[in-house]
Assembly symmetry: D2
Homo-oligomer: 304 residues x 4
C-alpha cells in the first residue's frame, strides 16, 4: 500500500473543495485559529510515517483527549469502571440531562461530556497529581516529551464553561461525583487544552491499533481487552451526533475534537490523524471527515 501516494491524492482533491461551516467559537481562543490550516499524518505498523500539509503544527485536541483519560482510568479501575459510566451511544443531545436524572447520574458513555467528567473525577480521586500524570502518559505513548497544555486555551474555556460546571454539580447531586467540583473542572479544561500535532496524535494512537503496546518498545500500556473496548466505544460514540455517519463514511473507530482534529485507527494496520478547523453542523471537522472517507475508499481498508 503506497500511503504517501494516497495522501497526495487526497491533498490534491481537497485543495479545490469548497468548505462551508464555522470554526468553533464558543471557546474564544479557538476562534482565533487560521481556518485554512489542513494537515494529515499516517503512522503504520511498519513504523513508517506519511503526511501532508500542516501535519506538524500543534492544535487544541479538545475531546480527543477523552480517549487518553479513559485509557488511564481503565488502567486504574479495570472493569469496575463501568459501574460509573455506561457504554452505549447517547442519542440526541437535548435529552442528556433528563437521561442523567433517570439513570441516577450514570452517563451514557465516556465520550459525552458527562462521562468524561466522571472519568476526570476518578483520576482526580486516584492520582496524586492528575495534570502531571496525564502529561506523562501522553508523552510516553507518543514518544515525544514536547507535548504540553495550552494554558491560554484552558483559561479561555474555564471562563465560559458554565455548562460543564453545571454538569459536574448535577452529577454530584445524583451521587456519581466524589471530588471537589473545582478540581475536576480544572483538570477537565486542562486535558481539553492539550496541544498536539497530527504527527503526535498518530503516534499516540498507535497503541489502539497495536493491541495496547507501544510500537517502538513493545511496552504494554493497555490490556488487549481494554483496547477492544476503547475501539468499540470510538466506533459507536466517537463522533457526537454523527457516529452513524462516520461509521458509514469511514468505517474505522475514531475520535474527533472541536479543535478540528480527528484521529482514527485501523487495527493492526495504521493510525491516522487529520486536522482542519472548519466544523460541519454536527461539530466535526468537515474536511477531516472527507479526507478519512477518501482514505478508506482509496486503501479499500474499512471494517465493513
Amino acid at each position: 500500500m503506497d500511503y504517501q501516494q494516497i495522501l497526495d491524492t487526497i491533498y490534491e482533491e481537497m485543495s479545490y473543495r469548497d468548505v462551508r461551516g464555522k470554526v468553533a467559537s464558543y471557546i474564544p481562543e479557538l476562534a482565533k485559529v487560521d481556518h485554512r490550516k489542513f494537515g494529515m499524518h499516517i503512522y503504520n505498523g511498519e513504523k513508517q510515517h506519511f503526511c501532508f500539509g500542516d501535519s506538524k503544527e500543534k492544535f487544541s485536541i479538545q475531546s480527543i483527549s477523552k480517549v487518553f483519560t479513559l485509557s488511564m482510568a481503565m488502567r486504574i479501575m479495570g472493569e469496575s469502571l463501568w459501574d460509573r459510566v455506561s457504554v452505549e451511544p447517547s442519542g440526541d443531545p437535548f435529552n442528556s440531562l433528563t437521561q442523567l436524572e433517570y439513570e441516577s447520574g450514570i452517563p451514557r458513555n465516556p465520550f459525552i461530556n458527562a462521562g468524561a467528567l466522571v472519568i476526570c473525577d476518578i483520576l482526580v480521586d486516584q492520582l496524586e497529581d492528575p495534570k502531571k500524570e496525564l502529561l506523562e502518559f501522553v508523552r510516553n505513548i507518543t514518544g515525544d516529551e514536547n507535548i504540553d497544555y495550552d494554558r491560554s486555551v484552558a483559561s479561555s474555556e474555564k471562563s465560559t464553561g458554565y455548562r460543564n460546571v453545571a454538569l459536574v454539580n448535577y452529577i454530584k447531586a445524583l451521587g456519581n461525583i466524589k471530588c471537589d467540583v473545582e478540581d475536576i473542572v480544572d483538570f477537565y479544561f486542562h486535558q481539553c487544552s492539550l496541544a498536539m500535532s497530527c504527527k503526535q496524535l498518530a503516534q499516540a494512537f498507535m497503541i489502539y491499533a497495536n493491541r495496547g503496546r507501544l510500537l517502538e518498545s513493545d511496552e504494554k500500556i493497555l490490556k488487549p481487552k481494554s483496547v477492544k473496548r476503547i475501539n468499540a466505544l470510538m466506533q459507536t460514540c466517537g463522533f457526537y451526533d454523527e457516529a452513524g455517519e462516520f461509521s458509514f463514511q469511514v468505517g474505522l473507530p475514531g475520535k474527533s475534537g472541536v479543535g478540528g482534529g480527528i484521529v482514527a485507527i485501523h487495527p493492526e494496520q495504521y493510525s491516522v490523524a487529520v486536522w482542519s478547523p472548519i466544523l460541519n453542523k454536527k461539530g466535526n471537522s468537515e474536511l477531516g471527515m472527507k479526507a478519512l472517507e477518501r482514505l478508506t475508499t482509496l486503501t479499500g481498508l474499512s471494517v465493513f
Copy 2:
C-alpha cells in the same frame, strides 16, 4: 479456519450455562415457544455450511426483518431514502417520542420501530403488493422458496400492537407518513412474523457479507455502497439499547429480534445466525450474544 470445530466448542460450552431472563411475552404467540431451543448456523464465502442444534427449525425473526425491508427501500429510493429516516443511534428509548417531535417526524434510524414503520410506508406506497414482494425478495436472497409469514404471530401482534399503531399515527401527524395507517401496520406485523431458520437467515444475510451479490449466482441485489451503509447501521444501531455492548463483545455488524434470533456478518468471510429465545434485560438473546462473542474470540476475526 475450522468453523465446525469452533461451533462444536461453543455448543459444548453453552450447554452448561445457566440462563436467566425471559422469553418475549408481549406478543402472546411468542410466549409459547420452547425456551430451551438453541441453534446456530454459519455460511461462509466458500459456500460451506456449519451448524449445531436447532439450526433448521423456523422461528419468528421479528426485527431482523427490518434489514430486508430497509434493503428493498434502498433499492427503490437510493440516497433520497435518508430524507425520510436518519442514520444515527437513538440513545435511551424513553425519549424516542420527544425526539420525533423535535426532529419533525424523522426517526433516528431505520431499526427503531418508528424508522421501520416509515420504511413500511415507503414500500406500501411504491409496491403493488408489498407483502408478496417482500416474500419474493427474501426467498430470492435465501435461495429457498420455503419461507412464509406466520399468520398466527401476525394477528397476535396486531391485537396488542397499540404502541406501533400510535407511532404511525404520530408520524403521520408530523407529516412523514403517506399511506393508510392500517395498510402500514398490517405490512409491518406481517414482516415481523416472517418465520425462518438459522440456516435460512445465514443464507439470506450472505449478500451483506458479499458486497451485495448472491453468492451462488453472483446476481447483484444491492450496490456495494448500500451494503456498506446497511452494515454500518447494523454495527451502530442493530441491538436496541445494547449496540455499544454488542460492538465490544462481538465486533461485527448484526441485527437481533425479540424472537431470540441474531444474525451477524463478517464482510468477505461469513454470515452467521444464532437462535435462543431467552432474552436479556435489553431484549437481546442472552445465549445468542454469548455464542457470537465466543465465535469472534475463537476465530480471532473481529472488526476491532
Copy 3:
C-alpha cells in the same frame, strides 16, 4: 352591577383593536369561519341576560366540551375517576408523551387531549349511546333543545386527527384505555364538534357558578364538591399553556377552545361566554382573553 353597560364599554373598546394571530387552520372546516365574528354573553344569578355582537351565532366549541364530558364522568365515577386521570397542570406541551410514559398512561389532567380521551373511554365504556347522552346532558343544562353536533366539523377533524388517534393507541398500550380506539376517537371528534352560541354556553356553564344546580329548576346536576373540583381544574389547567396568564389577567376559572370561544364563571355571580375566532400564539382567542380581562377589571370581581 350594570352588566349591560360594562359589555357595551368592552364592545366599543374592542372594535378599534388591532388583532393579530390566526384562525385555527389544522381542522379544515374551522379555517372557513369569518374571522371578524365577535360576540359575548353574560348570564347572572338573577337569571338576567346581557350580550353584544354575534352572541347568538353558533360556533364550534371544541375543547370547551371537555368540561361537559368531565362532568358526566364525575357523575358516573365519583372520586374513583382520579385513578384514571390526574389533576395537575401539564407544563410545556412537548413533554406530554414522555410524561405519559413515565406516569404509566395517567394523563396530567382531564383538559389536555390525553386526559379528555381517557374521559371519552370512560363514557364509551359506561354509556349505552354516549353521543346521544352527551347531547341530552348539554341540552338539559343549557335548557335548549336546539343544540347539535356539526357533523362536517367532526369528519373534518377525523380526517386529520392522527395525533389524537396516536394518543389513544399509546395510552391503550400503557393500559389506561379499555374500549375500541375507533369508538373513542369517533366520540371525541363529535364532542369537539358541538356547535353552541355564546348565549347557550353561558346558560350551560351556570351550573358551575351555581354549586351544581340548574338555576331555573334548582335540579341538582353535580355535587358541590364536584363543581369545586371542576372549577379548580378550569383555574389551573383551562388554557393550554396560558393558564397562568389567564389566571392573572382574568382571575376566573374558565375554559377555551380553538374555535375561538372562551367560557368563564364567577362563583355565585355569573357565567360568561365570549367568541372571536382569531387565536394568539398559545391557541386562545386573542380578543376573548382581552374582553374577559376588561370584564373583571370593570366589575372589580376577580378571585384575586
Copy 4:
C-alpha cells in the same frame, strides 16, 4: 366569622390525625426539627390575631421566601421582569432541565428553583447588599425587627446544594444569569434559611391580602397589579407538583416550603400561616394542607 373557634375546631380535629410522611432530610439541619410541631395563625383585615399551638415558634421558611424576593424584584423591574422568567405552571419536575434548554434559559415561573435563582441574580445585580435589604424588606412588611437568617441552615444547604449550583451554571450557559454564581447561590441559601413564626408569616403576607399596602400604616409596598400577579402565581404555581390539588382542596393562593410551612391569603379577608414539618409525597406539609382545607370549608370562604 369567629376565626378563633374555627381554629380551635381544626386543632382538635388534627390532634387525633395519624400523620405519615417524612420531615425534609436533604438539608441536614432541617432533619433535626421535632416532627410533632404544629401551629397556625390567622391575621385578618380588622387587625385581629387568632392562633393555636406552636404559632410563635420560628422555623425555616425555605421556598416561602421566594414570594418575598419576587416582590422585591417586581418593585425594581416592573413588567420587564417577565422577559427573564415566565408565569406558567411547570408540569412534572423531571423535564425542568430539558424545558430550560428549549426555552433558552427562561424558567417557567419564579417559584421553581430555576426561576427563584434568576430572581436572585436580578437582586444581586441591582442591590448594594441584597442579604441586608431582603432582611429589611421582610422586617418592614412583618412589622417585626426580630427576624433573621439561620446561618446554620444556610451553610447546611450550601454543603449539599449541588443541584442548585448546577442550575445557576446551566442558566448562565444559556445566557439568563449575569452575576457570579457563588454570590447568587450564597444569597439563595440565605433567603431560604429565613426563620419566621406562623405569626410573623401571617403578618408579612397581609400585604398580598391588602392590595399591596401595610395594614397598620397603609404604606404602599406593591402596586395592586403586582399583587394580583403574585397571587395568581401562588394560585397556579405555589405548591410544586400539587398546585392543582391545593387549588381544589383549599382554593386560596398560597406558598409552601419544605420546612413544613404554608402561607395562604384570602384577598380582602385574611392571611394565614400553618406549620407542621411532616411532608406528604409531593413535598408539602401534610397537616398544613389539611388544616387549610378545613379552614376554607369551615369559613365557607374559598375562591371557588
